[in-house]
Symmetry: C2
Subunit: 475 residues, 2 copies
Amino acid sequence: MRTSLPTTGRSAVRQFIRHYSAPLDSSIPASKLKHVPTSGTYPKGFLVSGTHVGVKPSNKSHPDLALIASDRPAFGAAVFTTNKFQAAPVQVSRSVLEKRGGAGLRSIIVNAGCANAVTGQGGVDDAWAMSSTASAQFQQSSQPDDHLGPNSLVMSTGVIGQRLPIDKILNKIPVAHSNLAADHTAWLTTAKAICTTDTFPKLLSTTFTLPGAQHAGVEYRLAGMTKGAGMIHPNMATLLGILCTDAPISADAASTLLTAAVNKSFNCISIDGDTSTNDTVAMLANGAASPSASTAPISSSTPEDYAAMAAILTSFAQKLAQLVVRDGEGATKFVTIRVRNALSETDARAIGSSIARSPLVKTALYGKDANWGRILCAIGYTSPELLSSPASSVIPTKTNVSFVPAENSASRDEGVLKLLVDGEPQRVDEERASRLLEDEDLIIDVDLGVGDAEGTYWTCDFSHEYVTINGDYRT
Amino acid sequence: MRTSLPTTGRSAVRQFIRHYSAPLDSSIPASKLKHVPTSGTYPKGFLVSGTHVGVKPSNKSHPDLALIASDRPAFGAAVFTTNKFQAAPVQVSRSVLEKRGGAGLRSIIVNAGCANAVTGQGGVDDAWAMSSTASAQFQQSSQPDDHLGPNSLVMSTGVIGQRLPIDKILNKIPVAHSNLAADHTAWLTTAKAICTTDTFPKLLSTTFTLPGAQHAGVEYRLAGMTKGAGMIHPNMATLLGILCTDAPISADAASTLLTAAVNKSFNCISIDGDTSTNDTVAMLANGAASPSASTAPISSSTPEDYAAMAAILTSFAQKLAQLVVRDGEGATKFVTIRVRNALSETDARAIGSSIARSPLVKTALYGKDANWGRILCAIGYTSPELLSSPASSVIPTKTNVSFVPAENSASRDEGVLKLLVDGEPQRVDEERASRLLEDEDLIIDVDLGVGDAEGTYWTCDFSHEYVTINGDYRT
């Protein structure tokens, strides 16, 4: 019967009015604790704070204003949403970066609880006020670059179509400045302050070295935080990412390195395929760990260091982006979609995205169903406009699909489970399939057999919980 | 709490193992009965039957073999899935039409329960055997066009990756032929025989006249049946549509008329955005109601009749396609997305599709939430590759979004509810909004304000039921 489940009706949705998918007391679910670091190695010269403002009146105590600052001018770059409706903080951050050529940046100021999107000129004024007020904290006297305007990037996340409680926020920026600290607790509090529907703060840090002679013996540091692409009621939330390093990177290199890293990380995850008005990933590089003031910053003139930095940044951004998928609203699965032997990387990404976005694939994963037919179908309906060659990007008789156990799988030693070989369905060992699908992590391997390019996408499943969260009433 | 609903966990999915979203006893839900006709006016010269085969062994009595036949050779055309993985019946039907130039068609043979997709050469042989066996029922002696091969189109729907029980099917085709009849009961049984996850048979019929002098005083008839795009476990189901008319239409005109009608109907609905390997809409026109054998068939040489036929066919196909949305798996809402004043029809369709496919819009509709932010967001992230001018197809300050009560709305006299005017959010009367969202039917009106083209999409919501149905185990 269609209505046999007592709580699948609309009345069930109404009974459980929630503003966040996150627990109301901000406690972290036990299953997510393993993703929250208990210590870290943070880049030199960076100071951070998370401060309570109460942007949403119902928020009486949780930090919702994050300040990420460098004790010296930093180079920086950002990648912004491609959504046609760009929120005020996106417009302002873009303008700050353009006016300054990516140089002389001192901080990033972020509020949660209100996205300051679709708020007209008043909203743009508010975003500029946040940037100016944050900048003013670092300017005790006039600076040589004052004429370039504020040196703080701005991000906002939360409800759209509502103006910020701007006075409350501006009044708390000096407090945020006085709260700045460099220890792990400060970084974790700051990562919490950018959260909305997230059930856990997403923070990572690492150390790295560079191959160039001038960097010999120097340990650099890289830290990052992000927040989820899951959606907050009553409106869409936002993907935000902030990366800080004490390595010296030129403004131009920061921009190209960040763009390349985001293309292979934050642009390769899908919770529900929706892209918000506020999505922003920014990076600051302050060179605080440079061996000397004369160390040449990483740029296209230092190709060896540039390549090393690109690999480090991409890998780090992928790990950060994966945390967003781990916290997809209602997600019970973490799925890596690996598309190999494609005609081009564009093809691999378009096909990976098509699979990652398919509601049928995502519900089958939730149902632990080895449903290769739905995967095949999603490969087959990838928009021809997005493929490099509609005629030869996908050839049914060359297509292979397998399930591969993840590294942490209990059935890892049983190896790959082939579902489709050169377009021919395989006799699937259903017991093996169900063991694989019991795992939280799974790799879907698609071998297109038409080229040598590849791309990877990360996604989660669609669950009842997703519908409950996103079908809630606004209140 | 994230897990407060007792049946939202995975264990709930396991408890309710179902093969179909349709009731197991094939009874029609009370809320859908209004969509099932109790009589009809069917085209002359067409005979139909629905016969039990038991393609799925668990099906002991429901008809699952449909035969739609013309008592004389008919012109015909079909529109097929664009999925790269084309099922065997799609390949065979395409070949039949090509070999015959769309002429001399006698029947369409359809089985439910197995899609005959991704079944290799054996599957293609099976589909040809279905076509040949159906054709043989109408050839008592050799015909002048025998050299063109079988004259029956073939459709299959159901599980993919499995071979048909072909002998069972072939053995029942003569029975299907002997069951042929022209009355309403026969048409309804036939419409039931093509169903899979559908909860009700989708059958419509109408009469029409043509403006040309040679058609004066003639009443033509048009009947159609379709089945849902909802998905059957364990694999995707299929959208099938069959249109029959006793008007005379040339093969070429049948093809261009059908393509145009499908583009504005079956290609403008979205249940979950997934497109199957088997999707097919076919039309047969046998001219049985022509005033005389010398009546010129509708073609591009009869522009007035052609235009009239185009309008009739498009409107009829839209009504048929809307029935599929009405029966979307787990759907509680029927939503018309009207995109107006677009730069091009392509833009209107791309933007309509983006809204119709957004899981966030669909869950908000399920939750009865006037969430214009999600609609705006979906407009904004429409792929630039699909727009005629990425720079001017969507201009935030010219964008308007309203909710419009449907014709059958109780609050129809309250008029339009404006949500966004020229990019400015409106103060929304939440009580008015919730009255509107109580309705099963709703129109989302998007006025892009940049041109004069328009397009309409139809969609339904995403419910808990959708996840339950599609997250089920295969058994």
